[in-house]
Symmetry: C2
Subunit: 312 residues, 2 copies
């Protein structure tokens, strides 16, 4: 059977037609053009799903369902997008509207949750029935899979691990909490940590490398060149990341953490020290099982593939 | 049907015969006398269950099962007590041994998890299918109920919320983590917070009240008398407690938190400000559902009643 998965972003929308085994038979990416508003975005999406079906050699009528990931607050049970500041949506019945226009079952979910589901069904999480997915992007998204199913909490309001506080006397976050994990581990935070280190060590190799700008890769590049300032920035970041994973382990003790997003692209240089630090902690009491840490493997496809999995 | 529930503690063991509706038909508390070792404790327990059955007017053969809570690391799926430092047990097959000796099905679980289940089935958590139970005792125990069932994580190693870190640069905990929530909200921590405030304000009413010793009640008593030093201690404590609940809400978003243990006996003076602070945070984004905060209602009976519920 075939399913359409859509990952709507503030800038681009990615979609694909996926089968039960996670094979993508056709896919596309296009500009969301959010300024045109909800109705136009909706019609575009359906028309593009139609095109993808034709490209795959069948009619949209043969689709078994449509799943959609949205970067906002979604009540997935009701199919409602409660709020999506990126797209200026508030209280839209996206699942209902898609169903009315296509006659297909439709499920809607938060985009990070979709990506978590995508990785668990078809990506590097597929050996695990219990995992927590964390994206280390501009912000920090998370998704929780328990017993093979997406766990969202009451009103689909859970799985926002980026706003777990890790510094009780920390800085205020936009969410209203203080010292949120996101403020330590997002790509934005990492760039800021790099900037501060450069300010304090203007003659370091790190400073030299960043003279035209700082990115989430800068400190890793300079650390590979042996720069001690950069190594320190990376080590501290790994400490922050692991600290939150230890917190999540003490609550959920999943089989694995799957790390995605820009910073996770550093691969083994990030994953291995995090995994060893986390399991050194777990080993401390001698009776608790090992928790794996793996990099996400589907990249930007995780969102729409997981969205398709919502309706499988 | 009738079930035996047992709550083994380092000092005392509590047990009761409970029916499907949570009615306790007979119960008793006796000294565990742990120095006599595992076999003696086991035989005592079975003999006492026998007595309770007779007291209730039936034979132990008519029991539908035996559930046991143990203050340690328990693999409840396997029925094994991996480690219980309180009783000096390591790798004992408690469920198997009870089954062999009685012919009854037996389930074993961590004691805080049993108490969580007890409160959810028969206590102040009975209106909630999704809740997190936190005991504010000498240490901090926790139990998680999702969809009406105990959630324990891989190897039953989850639901240890007291060791979620809330201060990334905090003091080292015995568990190996830093800045654990327990170090801020246990009764022991609260007494220490009170002691420090007294040291800094030796002329306060709080200091006067505590001249013969400090307990987990002292700051609440002095705060009720209007002492600003004590009010400050209580307010800070409530802040630490709520901070961790916000973290748990961002991960699990349960319907409710149930607070038990010594400090929760302060009742509304603790519960109401925590509830209002937590929901003020939740309201901040306007779309997430309210989370209730209630005091536990079964007191010391929660453990054995929840243990009985393990086999219902």
């Amino acid at each position: 059977m075939y399913y359409a998965g859509v990952d709507i972003g503030g800038k681009n929308t990615k979609m694909g037609i996926v089968d039960d085994f996670g094979n993508v038979v056709s896919s596309m990416t296009y500009r969301t053009q959010k300024e045109r508003g909800y109705d136009a975005i909706l019609l575009d999406m359906i028309s593009n799903i139609n095109s993808l079906c034709m490209e795959a050699g069948f009619d949209i009528k043969e689709l078994s369902g449509i799943g959609i990931g949205v970067p906002g607050i979604v009540n997935s049970r009701a199919g409602l997008v409660m709020s999506c500041s990126n797209l200026n949506w508030k209280g839209v019945d996206l699942a209902g509207d898609v169903k009315n226009l296509t006659g297909k079952q439709c499920k809607v979910c938060n985009d990070a949750n979709c990506a978590a589901l995508g990785e668990q069904r078809f990506g590097s999480g597929k050996n695990f029935k219990n995992l927590v997915f964390i994206t280390l992007g501009t912000g920090v998204g998370s998704g929780i899979i328990l017993d093979g199913k997406l766990f969202e909490g009451l009103g689909c309001a859970g799985a926002e691990a980026g706003h777990m506080g890790i510094q009780v006397d920390g800085d205020k976050c936009a969410c209203g909490n203080k010292g949120c994990w996101e403020e330590f581990i997002s790509a934005k935070a990492f760039v800021e940590q790099t900037r501060v280190a450069i300010e304090q060590n203007p003659k370091s190799l790190l400073a030299e490398i960043c003279k035209d700008g700082i990115s989430g890769k800068s400190a890793f590049i300079a650390a590979r060149e042996g720069d001690s300032v950069a190594k320190n920035v990376v080590e501290k970041y790994i400490g922050y990341l692991t600290y939150g994973l230890i917190g999540l382990t003490n609550i959920l003790h999943p089989q694995a953490f799957v790390l995605g997003g820009g910073i996770a692209n550093e691969g083994a240089e990030l994953i291995l020290p995090v995994k060893s630090m986390l399991n050194e902690y777990i080993d401390n009491n001698g009776f608790y099982p090992y928790v794996d840490v793996v990099g996400a493997s589907l990249g930007n496809d995780a969102g729409y593939m997981g969205a398709a999995a919502l309706v499988m």
